[in-house]
Subunit: 184 residues, 2 copies
DNA sequence: TGTACATCAGTGAACGCGCGTTCACTGATGTAC
DNA sequence: TGTACATCAGTGAACGCGCGTTCACTGATGTAC
């Protein structure tokens, strides 16, 4: 059921999504989901929660998979992009409900992915960080760049508009962010 | 009418938007819009078109308003963020229809804003650019970072989650991107 | 100046549709004795 | 082993609703003579 919702979200985007359709996709009647979820929003929240978990796991996996800090950092960037690409449904759900405040659980799990990012960053720039370099801010910049590239790539604007490869763009961009941050 | 649509888009986001509501907001009957637009999508396209025009004008204005290349570049970054903040309705419309390919006019006007960015970049890094530095790619990175910061800021994740100021984050990030690109 | 006509933005009633949700129900599965 | 009962995922019909869109219309404005 959650899987069906994720599929539909991937195909139709956040605004084209309907409970009835998701149920149809899962091969059950429109009333069946109400056995498992209070309402439509609860289903979407569950999809988002699964997304956060999956995302955090991938980020941690990327971090743990490399002993070299730079390689680990690059792997995390690629993992971000890959997640947005592989699971656009979950990704949409995660950033959808966000008009209201995130539920506490979701936030905690989302943060755990972000903390992995900060950890990787700290390993790269040395601890303690150079004076005037706030790891949190740099991490936010990396995050924003990743998010931006993922969104522009998802709508095809980078590839079709400019013939640019998203992965390469992100890796180079992150490298430049870090280099620009530690240089004088 | 277009103004009403823009307002509603701002308040409710892309998925909460309805023609009927927009007409109500404009103080006319639900049928009235059909005098001016073929259907709902045509209205949204018109809002998006207006957004692209406004956006390009702001970018060009920011570029023209400063003789110092660096100041001009910073101003463009701020203009990007300000536009996304002031006109979330138009911004949403611009990036909404984007699942399909953009109409030719929209694309041309959107590009004109992007070209202003490249122009400012070229003035900053010198012409011809240093070897191995593709201005187009750097521009895409700046764009992606701006887009990412704008979206995260719009959903309040930067401010409420981490107490980070979006404007400062963007300016510093862009500076780092450029610095990282021209340094060895 | 006055009359006849064309234009056209807006009206309000109506339509068919898909949606989210409710309800009493069915039927399979597991448990107690 | 067999019978009685509880649990519970799923059914299908029904509801009220807001949506996008159509239609014949009205009434104000502008133009021609």
């Amino acid at each position: 059921m959650i899987e069906a919702a994720r599929q539909l979200l991937s195909e139709r985007g956040a605004q084209g999504f309907s409970l009835v359709d998701a149920a149809r996709r899962a091969g059950v009647s429109a009333a069946a989901p109400y056995r498992h979820f209070r309402d439509k929003d609860a289903l979407l929240a569950e999809v988002a929660l699964g997304g956060f978990k999956d995302f955090a796991a991938r980020q941690k996996g990327a971090l743990a998979g490399h002993s070299d800090p730079i390689a680990a950092f690059r792997a995390m960037g690629l993992a971000y992009l890959a997640f947005a690409q592989d699971e656009p449904g979950a990704y949409a759900a995660m950033f959808m409900g966000t008009h209201g405040p995130l539920a506490a659980t979701d936030k905690a799990i989302g943060d755990s992915g972000f903390e992995a990012l900060i950890k990787a960053l700290r390993a790269m720039i040395g601890d303690p960080p150079p004076p005037g370099l706030d790891p949190l801010k740099l991490a936010c910049q990396v995050w924003a760049l990743s998010h931006g590239v993922a969104m522009l790539a998802a709508s095809g604007q980078l590839q079709h508009g400019f013939g640019v490869d998203p992965q390469e763009l992100l890796l180079e961009g992150v490298e430049r962010l870090v280099k620009g941050a530690i240089k004088p």
